[in-house]
Amino acid sequence: MLSTQVAQLQQSIPAGLADADAVVAGFDDALVGGFARVGDEAAAALAALAGAVAGTPLHDRVAEAVAKVTAGSFSQEDLASLAGARSALLGAAHDALLGQFDAAVGRERTPWSAPVGVPAEASAPRGAARAWLHETAVAGWRGVDHDLLSAVGAPVEAALAEPGLRRLAVLLDGLAAELRASLPVAMMSQVPARRWADLWSRAVLLAQDWSVPDDEVETISGRLLPLGVDIHEHGTAVGVQVHGVLEPSDGRPARLVRTTVTAAKVETITGPAVWRLLQAHPVLLAALAQRRAVTVTDLPLRGGDLRWIDGQARPGEPADPFATARLLLAPAVAAATAPLDRHPTVIAEPVLLEGYTVRHDDGLTVEWDGQQLPVAVDRLPAAGPLTPALVAASSCCLGLLRFDGGRWLVQPLAVRATVKRKPVEAHNGDWAEGVTDPKVAKAEAKAGDAVAVLRERAGRLLRR
């Protein structure tokens, strides 16, 4: 990505973005106080939400839901309508922002064509989740208490037991842990209103009895060249999402794809130890740690999401991710995001940044002549070798472009830097097969093997 492209991106803020943001912020504030008693300000915010979707097929349902919530007597369906309207606004913001990005860098993107899903049979865990989300909306974030948080245990446990509901389970568990750690919310000087409303709305949508057919996706074979890995983690989940360029074996144009593997974990397993939970995917881990290409056969592809099946992957020749980015990123064709998943936060576009300097003050900022791009420093994981110091010393970076808090940021996945006059290269996935930095490895060894200790305890105490 060139500095002129960064300039174009930052100058072309989509029309209507600020208005959509203000409507969403109003709804989010209303959810802080809860819907048990809707005051004048919250009523106006809800009316604005209905107004924002006027002229769309959502309008009638949302207007009705707003009237009922304002009157104080509402159902789970009404909340789903509100969550749907909020998600539609943020989905539109996503589309506009991504459109600006594609225009700025010249990225080609295929439109969404896979099915979006069909109504599914009623499921008890989903029903329990909806009931909890309803109670939460009534209480508002300021009204959340220990009892309400204890009540989320049952739906989370039930959803975890069903592989098809893993998304809902992981989301609810992450939200509940944050609320638990924030009690009493009334004592917080500021509530993360946008974030929690995002998570709540997502959960409401995922808790609807709706399913996406698994069998109607294309499969693809070819050579996958990893660009980098984005690591996600909360107390009870870890996920790694590998971004790469897939060269189909049938000679079609190269595609920009992502593949994700996740594992359940506990809070005390963190840092480099999380890689040990993903050992069921040895080919993927080897490709990351050894910076290799992978040959994949008949993997399901839905949009840009390649479903990983380790047994259908073979490690290939060494492949330098920076070379992949330089040669293949520009011509590779990206895919649209599934409609219901669209939100500015899921924008994670691989970019290669070069020839910059890094300014180090209140955070880190990548700078060219007159152009600046802040670095998402708190997205540097303890599970990999990248540190703020290394990013500050870098001159070349493979990263993901993100949008949050009204601005674009870059999340580094790999850097080339000069440290003590020597060239250094570091990638997020370098430790996928074990820590390679002796200092960090020593600290890890000292802390002991958390996974092993807990597995021993589990073996002894579970199933008695």
Partner: protein
């Protein structure tokens, strides 16, 4: 890291509301949590590998209890918190930091409070038996996470939960 200034918190989708737990050795105290209005956890017995103690301190009232998972009271409770409770408090401070534990338990931790035993000393504690079953079943559920199968479904919601920690 993210600072707690108002507008940034209200308007951002991604921020570290909960700092990640700090790594600690798990052999002695495999499980610590701040939940259900208590600091609670499980302490491995020093003498019997099959036995664990369930210890807890309630937020606000500072009522404490320690027993085996079969509800047999801990022999170390003689009018004061036993060594299991001390260990629980120490490990909680390692895992969450002293401020978060003090805030949750509603302890006025002034200057000079750095360890779990300092915190216990600041509390007006009293003994009050509570059933071990609730905490023990939470521990078993905690362990059960490690038995769940992996998933290869895309989880777009995880974009709200970036792994962090290199900035510490």
């Amino acid at each position: 890291m993210t600072d707690a200034d108002g507008t940034a918190w209200r308007g951002r989708s991604v921020l570290a509301v909960v700092p990640p737990a700090r790594p600690r050795k798990l052999a002695k105290v495999p499980f610590v949590e701040l939940a259900d209005g208590r600091l609670q956890g499980v302490v491995s017995s020093g003498s019997d590998i099959e036995r664990v103690y369930v210890s807890s301190v309630a937020a606000g009232t500072h009522a404490y209890h320690c027993s085996t998972n079969n509800n047999r009271p801990c022999g170390g409770l003689r009018g004061a918190p036993c060594k299991h409770l001390e260990a629980l408090a120490e490990e909680a401070v390692l895992q969450y930091g002293v401020d978060r534990v003090a805030r949750y338990l509603r302890v006025d931790a002034g200057d000079g409070v750095g360890s779990g035993s300092d915190l216990l000393a600041r509390m007006d504690t009293r003994h009050e038996p509570t059933p071990a079953a609730v905490v023990f079943s939470r521990f078993l559920r905690h362990l059960a996470y490690l038995e769940l199968p992996d998933s290869t479904t895309a989880l777009p919601e995880l974009h709200w939960f970036p792994a962090t920690g290199a900035a510490r």
